[in-house]
Amino acid sequence: MAPEPPLLTMSGITKSFPGVRALDGVDLDVQAGEVHCLLGQNGAGKSTLIKVLAGAHQPDTGTIRWRGEPVTLRSPIAAMRLGVATIYQELDLVEHLSVAENVHLGHEPTAAGFVVRGRAARASTAALLARLGHPEIDPSRLVGALSAAQQQIVSMARALSHDVRLIVMDEPSAALDPDEVDNLFRSVQDLTAQGVAVVYISHRLEEIRRIGDRVTVLKDGRAVAGGLPAKTTPTREVVALMTGRNVEYVFPERPAAGSVPAGPPVLQVRGLARDGEFAPLDLDLHPGEIVGLAGLVGSGRSEILETVYGARKPSAGQVLVDGRPLRPGSVRAAVRAGLGLAPEERKAQALLMLESVTRNVSVSSMSRFSHGGWIDRSAEFGAARAATRELSLRPDNPSVPVRTLSGGNQQKAVLARWLLRGCRVLLLDEPTRGVDVGARAELYAVVRRLADEGLAVLLVSSEVPEVLGLADRVLVLREGHVVHTAPARDLDEHRVLDLVMEGSPAT
């Protein structure tokens, strides 16, 4: 036992958002000088927990102790003063400033209170970079000219420029090449050797084995296991901890085996690829069939959907609808051929937030209610209402602004848009993101019903149970490659997680 109390102790942390209990009594303790890994599926509560730790969210209940003393982290600044720095996935560096300027942003060394002492800033930055084992980074270079890995290092240097005792790193390796990851790990080890604690979040088990000291596994807002030895706990045990669910979603029944139409596919993808995003992909999608793409963030899932839809231009291959190739890189061609996309970022990519539900639903089929450009508004309203009623959208009044709807109903508005358009292939990207647990089952039922009516659905989700529960057939993706294809009924969550994390079945 350590003679002194742990650097950080969080106990019984709960945090609720409208409709979701994101953290449900989480315990976490971190020792000085250790790398403590946080594992968990999407939605397990990892990001909420680190936001609490960074002072960005206030917990509803629970206590946080720092070196044994109770503290409250009222704001990111308070956390920073205490010595907690967080490096988010989206690096918050200013590209047009130099490395030294970024490192000292907001606390520049000054003379007479306002004259920035550039040389002093560069010198101290160089010292920090050396401490991280990266003296080769020039403090006067622009951050925008650095590689992603070097930018990570700069972020760490920035954290160290405050007197930091604990650094939280949120999937730092996601955008890095293998040898860059090696560099990063060296820096992390240098830090811990100096007594700094690191909370490390990653999906990749092999990384956790290499660098971690202890592992805490989160699931459904709880810490299901705390302080497991990172090097020796068997993979199977970790995966079991991550997947053993309490809440099971109710998925609609699949059609009986063999009822997936054997007729010609409505959508054919042939050798479709985008350099740096995903490798050549072949896929057939039949009317009435739901095909799922499972994979981690960055595995190319959304990119595949958007390329099929024409929103991104492929570097090779083609997409055929009813055997006829679509013009590559043209959304309009795809929509005209009967494709519809419910994108990942609903608010940013699908909805007109200032407009009513009616107008959001009718936007892709305006020609149906217009004669010579003149909109027949009662026909439009009637059609929008019919479509939203068919999906049981609430409130049952398409005149309300779409921004007032809940996440699930906003998603239904997007589905209603394509239903009204009479689309034949629906591309669903993270359909339940931001949707309440209770509303999910309803959404699943809707999607299955549409499929039963003849719609072909291509589904992308980072929630493995969702893909397994809803899809008929699953393609497992890892870093842009399809590593496995199988009927959903032949897969389980455990196996899919093995596949997406390690690329090979670990049994």
Binding site: Q349, L351, L352, S364, G373, I375
Partner: protein
């Protein structure tokens, strides 16, 4: 599709008044508040004008005068409202009006008579709008920069054509249109054109697919693209529309002033943007109101009128104009948030 399609908007009552959920009526009420507050500002101005200069201000001739003076900038503002609603901006409107008005009044053009002047003004406007639209929609230039470049070039070309001279119009048909004899039931033809442009603009924005696409492109261009709207073509059309409005406005200005001069349309871009914004069109795009824009134009024109009638000098007028812009926006925001 189990429910029959019932007549629109009767279901409002069935909707439970849940927290932040806005009903259609609430939205209408809110839209009305915005319009009402503008009408309120206008009413206050009318009262001020009526008190300070009862005989001169409250007079049919003065009404004709105010509306006539509002016509030119009003037509420009209708076009500008579309561009701003789509998330763009057109800084070149004043310069296009200047270029179109001088191009249409050269010695050579005047030889073609009335039709030549009208057609040239409209075509020059459309041509400039086409260049703007192509640069912005297909050349991926920022609207601010593209139209700023057009501002500089069109003003320069206008100066080159005129050599700084005032080109006097000698075509009787054009001149008569601006005179009392051609008033239709007391309405000056310029005001009629303004009214027609306003009505067409309102219908276009609120009742057609063109208007819907404009709002969609302004509200969320990425969502519009993914919904299958040809965003670039829509942008091209919008700058063409603005150019067309400038061409029409240039013709009105030729009729009004009986001449073409390269200084025409001075700072129209600012007046049109200001009128659209105090009218309630969002500068960031996604929401636009023709009614509001026209009220904004009328407010500015009425202020100018009252100041001139009271013999206040241009320095005071400019200060007051700035103050009114701020006040109108603040009043609107307050009334909109307390309802």
């Amino acid at each position: 599709m189990t429910q029959p399609v019932s007549p629109p908007r009767d279901s409002t009552d069935k909707v439970p008044p849940v927290g932040q959920h806005l009903t259609w009526r609430d939205m209408m009420a809110r839209a009305d508040v915005r319009t009402l507050s503008l009408l309120g500002v206008l009413a206050v101005l009318v009262v001020i004008g009526g008190i300070t200069k009862p005989d001169e201000f409250l007079d049919t001739r003065n009404l004709q005068l105010v509306l006539t003076q509002a016509s030119v900038i009003g037509v420009v503002t209708v076009g500008m409202t579309f561009v701003i609603t789509s998330g763009g901006i057109d800084l070149s409107v004043g310069a296009i009006v200047a270029l179109a008005s001088v191009w249409a009044t050269t010695v050579a053009t005047q030889e073609y008579g009335f039709g030549g002047i009208l057609l040239t003004a409209v075509l020059v406007g459309l041509g400039c709008g086409l260049v703007n639209g192509l640069l912005i929609a297909y050349g991926a230039m920022v609207p601010f920069i593209a139209t700023l470049a057009m501002l500089a070039s069109a003003r320069g070309l206008a100066l080159q054509i005129t050599d700084g001279r005032t080109q006097i119009v000698t075509i009787d048909g054009v001149l008569e249109l601006g005179e009392r004899d051609s008033y239709v039931l007391g309405v000056p033809p310029l005001v009629l054109v303004f009214a027609v442009v306003t009505v067409i603009g309102w219908l276009l924005l609120n009742r057609t697919t063109f208007g819907r696409r404009t709002v969609a492109v302004g509200g969320n261009p990425e969502a519009a693209r993914l919904a299958g709207i040809d965003v670039r073509r829509q942008r091209l059309y919008l700058y063409l529309l603005s150019g067309l409005c400038c061409g029409i406005a240039a013709f009105l200005l030729i009729v009004l002033s009986g001449s073409g001069q390269n200084t025409n349309g001075n700072l129209y871009e600012l007046d049109a943007i200001a009128a659209a914004i105090i009218g309630g069109t969002l500068l960031s795009g996604g929401r636009g109101t023709i009614t509001g824009s026209v009220l904004g134009v009328l407010i500015f024109t009425t202020i100018t009128n009252i100041f001139a009638l009271n013999n206040l000098q241009s320095d005071v007028q400019q200060i007051a104009k700035g103050a009114i812009i701020v006040a109108a926006v603040l009043v609107q925001r307050r009334t909109a948030s307390t309802t």
